[in-house]
């Protein structure tokens, strides 16, 4: 089984978010970048397939050279090789199109991604990719098994879960549940040493254009100070008369 895991390079969840150039660019100054947390769940699931059922695992990122440490971390966790598509990922559709070229050329059976990235939270790339390469697609996946070419998966729905059956080739957009958080891998020293020797191939953009562009960023308006009350009568009064939510 050939597995491709899509990796986003995102600010650590505790990062302060700031912008530069008149609020048109994200300020990466002092920001720690990590493997997108949702992708980590899918990467760990790929490792499980590699170890239990036999699979090769390639990781891919659409991004500029600054994302390579994140790909090396994925290699240290156990991926066999990595691909970086050398383009600034300004738009989800652009990323999906670049990934589609990699998938078509690579002959993958399973593409695993996180359901969204922790920066733009767009939840668009996996579904677009599946449509572009005409693979089956399960979004918000919280469990999956592969038996031959048959796939059984569980996805989260509003208020519950749905079990589905489908077949390879497939794109899976995973989240917590596809593996448990306690099972996430942390690179060990041997993995880090081995990762240095694993191939990280850089391919140039296939020349697709973006369909959206960020004109500017803004932060939410500063919040007023919390109103502290010392009894529930006052709280009920405020929620009813001021906030009008009860």
């Amino acid at each position: 089984m050939k597995i491709l895991v899509c990796i986003s390079h995102v600010p650590d969840t505790t990062s302060k978010i700031n912008f530069t150039d008149n609020d048109t660019k994200f300020d990466a100054n002092g920001v720690q970048f990590v493997i997108n947390p949702y992708d980590e769940f899918s990467l760990t699931r790929a490792m499980w397939f590699k170890e239990k059922q036999g699979a090769t695992v390639t990781v891919v990122n659409v991004g500029e050279a600054s994302t390579e440490p994140t790909l090396r971390k994925a290699l240290a966790i156990g991926a066999d090789d990595a691909i970086r598509v050398n383009v600034n990922p300004t738009d989800g559709f652009l990323v999906a199109k670049e990934l589609a070229t990699i998938v078509k050329n690579g002959g993958y059976d399973v593409v695993l991604a996180g359901k969204e990235s922790a920066d733009y939270n767009g939840q668009m790339v996996p579904g677009m990719l599946a449509s572009l390469v005409d693979f089956n697609f399960v979004n918000g996946c919280v469990g999956m098994e592969v038996d031959g070419t048959a796939v059984s998966a569980t996805r989260e729905i509003d208020g519950g879960e749905e079990k589905v059956s489908t077949s390879l080739p497939i794109v899976i957009a995973g989240q917590k549940g596809i593996v448990e958080e306690k099972d996430l891998r942390i690179p060990n020293m041997r993995g880090i040493m081995m990762a240095r020797k694993k191939p990280l191939n850089v391919v140039e953009s296939s020349g697709v254009t973006a369909s959206t562009a960020t004109q500017s960023f803004e932060k939410p308006a500063p919040k007023g100070a919390v109103k502290l009350v010392d009894n529930v009568d006052d709280l009920i009064n405020l929620l009813h008369n001021e906030a009008k939510v009860i």
Partner: protein, 317 residues
Amino acid sequence: MSVLVFADSSEGKFKKTAFEVVSYGKKVAEELGTNLVALTINGGDASELYAFGAEKVLEVKNDLSTFNAKAYASIINQAAEAQSANVVVIDSSVDGLYVAPMVAVAMNAGYASNVVALPSSTAPFTVKRKAFSNKAFSNTIVSTDKKVIGVAKNSYGAHENAVAGSAETFSANVPEMGVTSESVDKATGVITIADADIVVSAGRGLKGPENWGMVEELASVLGAATACSKPVSDLGWRPHSEHVGQTGKPVASNLYIAIGISGAIQHLAGINASKVKVVINTDPEAPFFKAADYGIVGDAFEFVPQLVEKLKAFKQA
């Protein structure tokens, strides 16, 4: 040209988000000087959509018993083609987020998800979207001729705007679906976090799962869903489906009540989209107080039972 909205439904009834996207789509259609068409698939009574501005409702009736993303995406695309729709509006329910990217590819349309406001401009078409886990917004230009807009739940709201609408049957081809539903396991008789206007959430401050009775009672009085912080679901006190936060469920409710939750940044990322936040915590330094609108510095075991009793009296008054 027209604006098409997909009005999602469940078991023959429109979801609340259907009225939100129809309200949103109506305004966009007005700004573009065109008409609004709503598409339903085995949906509810079309006249419910006229009330929010849908002049025309295309009703697809078929034997799809459950949602299927590929089939739905194909039907939405066929309707968009039939109506020459350049803008398609879809909600941000779990199913909406599943189907919208597939619609965008089928239409070769730029897609903006998590949109929180009407376009600030229609030429260029510019929308405000949530980004960085609700810590910022991106004003995004969608530069393609065709556009798919995903409206974030509870951000624009449902606005009555009654029109004399009409419904017609729309015949669409259903493609090979690829993914087959085997079973659905859905909580019945409880309000889910996705549907709730009010969410009552509790954390480790409750000391143990045996103390959740008062949280459930408070939720019951308010008609709210129950939720919890990540440590609580990790400890197994509450199911993972109730975990709210960055890697758990997002909450965009009108009222979020946090009891005994300190307010880790990952938790706040999950609830930032909620409109009014109330915190009850013994620790006055808890970071959640900085994010909250109203707070009680005090013991949940003292204040929550009082709140339940007083709210019962308030509701009866």
